[in-house]
């Protein structure tokens, strides 16, 4: 049998000097690389930088909210802090986070290809992202904006202060990077699968990235045109969103949420793909209901486009349209719930190893369920009218975006760290930081559900005395969360110097990425992989270096 790739018993040692990390040491060899693995590293470094900026803004917000009078920031300063936090987190961290780092690195490896279909386009997409990032940094240096991340009209077009046009351009440009990445993934998954890698053998990580690429390609251009219209309106007074000329501010919300609701699924679908890998590898068990999980990704991508109006229930949108959007929004819970049930069923009677990646994955499931169920509440017209624009909504989407996506991002980083860097990190510290992140997250955001339910509106930094206790809890949780984010930064970096060398398959996991050396050679595989088995064929793989075995 020529199926070298599925032979998980054999240990493909790194042949000296062939690793992609050793393919060149000059700055040029990194900045002009077309290797998807190196581009993934470039993305990882850039998004970590933007995450830091957005996190500093979050820290300012939480410190300011400790006192009811808002002693730290001025009103304008607070508005600018939450705007920078939202814009940076959404477009410069969360949207590229998993797809452009882990996805970029892993998709070709998982399907047995040498690279993405268009390697130079991949590099171009990073440069576009960097140009957008420079615009965003200019905004930060120039004092920020107070539009909020949603750029609502007429606030943004007529009243907002700060570098509004630069901000809009930054997000506009970053969209092209996203579109090109989605295009590259779609063509790669269609055209570059290894022999035998049929659609029914695709890892679920690849399925979810296929689904997210559809959203990249079909939703992002709508954001682009919307932002162009906003910029044209602010500069030239075009008037499409201006009621005094007969335009409609709600049109902005339709266009914006046509993109931005699917964008929520851009953030959570790759995380779901990660969790499918982490759960099966942690339980050493075949995924329960492969096709349900795979098609649920596609269903989420499609239904996600039909629900945008639930952001506009109190905006003056037609009540009948709101009713339809309410129904459709509830429907999107079905594929999401299917996934949660299947992950849980996969763990059942599994050979579970509670390593850090699995802890992150289980944290994801719990937090995603909390975020998802409160999302169902918000999808209901009658409830949303009461808690709209309160901390209830803030808590809900942070449970999905931070509790879900960021937790999964950290899980993915731990799980594939040995593959990406060739080093093992300190597992004990990994587990501690995973637990710390889950506890800290709940401490930060659960009080916000209570605040919102009591009526605390979002985007206010001066609030009545009786909310202070919950706000202080939330700020304390944010401090804990900061430690949970800084810990991996230190021990992962430390592992680069002093970590033990990683074997090819440290978790005893299936998947083509574990059949090549750690780190992989420049062209990913020394011989063309041929796939002869289905995905997650777990009894055949054996854990090698599990510390608790």
């Amino acid at each position: 049998m020529t199926a070298a790739a599925v032979d998980t018993e054999r240990e493909p040692e790194e042949i000296e000097g062939t690793s992609y990390l050793r393919a060149g040491y000059s700055l040029r060899s990194w900045l002009l690389t077309t290797d998807h693995k190196r581009i993934a590293i470039l993305y990882l470094l850039s998004i970590t930088f933007f995450f830091a900026i957005a996190a500093v803004a979050a820290a300012l917000i939480r410190l300011d909210l400790i006192t009811p009078e808002g002693d730290l920031l001025s009103n304008e300063g607070y508005n600018r802090a939450f705007s920078i936090h939202g814009i940076m987190m959404v477009w410069f961290f969360l949207i590229p986070s998993i797809p452009n780092t882990i996805g970029n690195f892993m998709i070709p490896l998982m399907i047995g290809a040498r690279d993405l279909a268009f390697p130079r386009l991949n590099l171009l997409s990073w440069y576009i992202f960097i140009v957008a990032g420079i615009f965003a940094l200019f905004v930060v240096v120039a004092g920020g904006v107070d539009t909020g991340w949603t750029f609502y009209t007429p606030l943004t077009t007529m009243y907002a202060n700060g570098a509004v046009v630069a901000t809009v351009l930054a997000v506009f440009i970053s969209g092209f990077s996203t579109i090109l990445t989605g295009l590259n993934f779609i063509v790669t998954i269609h055209k570059l699968r290894a022999p035998g890698m049929t659609w029914s053998r695709l890892p679920l990580f690849v399925w979810s990235h296929y689904a997210v690429s559809i959203i990249f390609v079909l939703a992002t251009p709508v954001l682009a045109i919307t932002l162009l219209l906003v910029a044209a309106e602010r500069v030239f007074g075009i008037g499409v969103f201006d009621p005094s000329l007969g335009g409609d501010p709600l049109l902005f919300q339709h266009l914006f949420w046509f993109y931005s609701h699917p964008a929520v699924y851009i953030m959570v679908l790759p995380a779901m793909g990660v969790v499918s890998e982490l759960i099966t590898a942690g339980a050493h068990k075949k995924i329960f209901g492969y096709w349900f999980v795979a098609y649920a990704s596609i269903a989420i991508a499609v239904i996600g486009f039909l629900v945008w109006g639930h952001h506009m229930f109190v905006s003056g949108q037609s009540v009948l349209a709101s009713t339809a959007f309410s129904f459709l929004s509830i429907a999107v819970a079905v594929p999401s719930a299917i996934k949660v049930y299947n992950w849980t069923a996969t763990l059942y009677k599994g050979d579970v190893a509670l390593d850090a990646p699995l802890l992150y994955a289980m944290g994801f499931i719990g937090l995603f369920v909390a975020g998802g169920l409160t999302g169902l509440m918000l999808a209901m017209l009658a409830i949303d009218v009461h808690v709209h624009d309160t901390y209830f909504v803030v808590a809900h989407f942070h449970y999905i975006m931070v509790g879900g996506s960021v937790t999964a991002f950290f899980g993915a980083l731990h799980y594939w760290w040995p593959k990406i860097t060739g080093r093992l990190y300190n597992e004990v510290l990994g587990r501690i930081s995973a637990l710390l992140m889950i506890v800290g997250f709940n401490l930060t955001f659960f009080p916000q559900f209570m605040l919102g339910y009591e009526g605390m509106p979002r985007r206010y930094h001066v609030y009545p005395q009786e909310f202070q206790v919950l706000q202080v809890f939330s700020s304390a949780g944010a401090g804990m969360l900061a430690v949970a984010y800084l810990m991996p930064l230190t021990y992962l970096l430390w592992s680069l110097r002093s970590g033990a060398r990683a074997p090819a398959n440290p978790w005893g996991a299936t998947g083509l990425e574990w059949t090549t050396s750690s780190p992989p050679p420049k062209h990913n595989f020394t011989e063309q992989p041929v796939v002869v088995r289905g995905p997650y064929d777990y009894p055949l793989a054996h854990p090698r270096s599990r510390q608790d075995a």
Binding site: R114, N184, I225, F236, G237, V240
Partner: protein, 210 residues
């Protein structure tokens, strides 16, 4: 060229690479469709909110400029389709002639457009013009909208003309990779034509006969 050899290793044969590039182009065009989709939703919303004013405002558009430009773009599309056919059929000279003719028509389109803008400028219809001259606020909005949309489309036409010229320069060589390139440029040009096909009733025909 090391890049090329990498691509050759990547795809098992040239046919597969052609498929990949064509699929990539169509996926890109899908995103272009959604970009213009936002424009059409805006037009739909404006028309549903103000049905009569929309028609009245559209009646000020220069119908004959728009109609001439539609005919020009449709003809250029035919020429580009013929160029693709003749590239594959082994008649690169004719393919190149068709592409240059399409470039000429594209430039004519921009010329007609420029003349239309010039007339608008003289009538005080430009966004933010000092001599603004509108009978109703909505007429001004419609005019601004028309400038934004046709401007966006003209940018696409300009990009298309550059791509067509590049394809025509390469058209002499009958290499498989060039055929793929010409095919993809043609797809882009046709889609720019399709956008105009829908902009025509949206902007010009809506006010005809009023």
């Amino acid at each position: 060229m090391p890049e090329q050899s990498r691509a050759e290793i990547q795809f098992h044969h040239i046919g597969r690479q052609r498929e990949a590039e064509r699929l990539g182009m169509l996926v890109f065009l899908a995103s272009e469709i959604m970009l213009f989709g936002g424009v059409f939703l805006a037009a739909l919303a404006l028309r549903m909110l103000h049905p009569q004013e929309y028609v009245a405002a559209a009646s000020h558009m220069k119908l004959w400029h728009g109609t001439a430009n539609t005919a020009i773009l449709l003809t250029s599309s035919l020429l580009v389709a013929l160029a693709v056919e003749w590239t594959r059929g082994g008649r690169p000279k004719w393919a190149a002639r068709c592409l240059w003719a399409a470039v000429a028509l594209g430039l004519t389109f921009l010329g007609v457009k420029a003349h239309e803008y010039y007339l608008d400028y003289r009538e005080g219809k430009l966004p933010g013009a000092a001599n603004a001259n509108f009978s109703t606020p909505f007429e001004q909005l419609f005019s601004n909208f028309y400038f934004s949309v046709t401007g966006l489309h003209a940018l696409h036409v300009t990009a298309g003309i550059i791509l067509l010229a590049l394809a025509a320069l390469r058209g002499e060589a009958r290499h498989d990779r060039h055929a793929v390139f010409i095919g993809n440029v043609a797809l882009y040009w046709h889609l720019v034509d399709v956008f105009w096909i829908f902009l025509y009733p949206t902007i010009y025909l809506a006010g005809a006969g009023e």
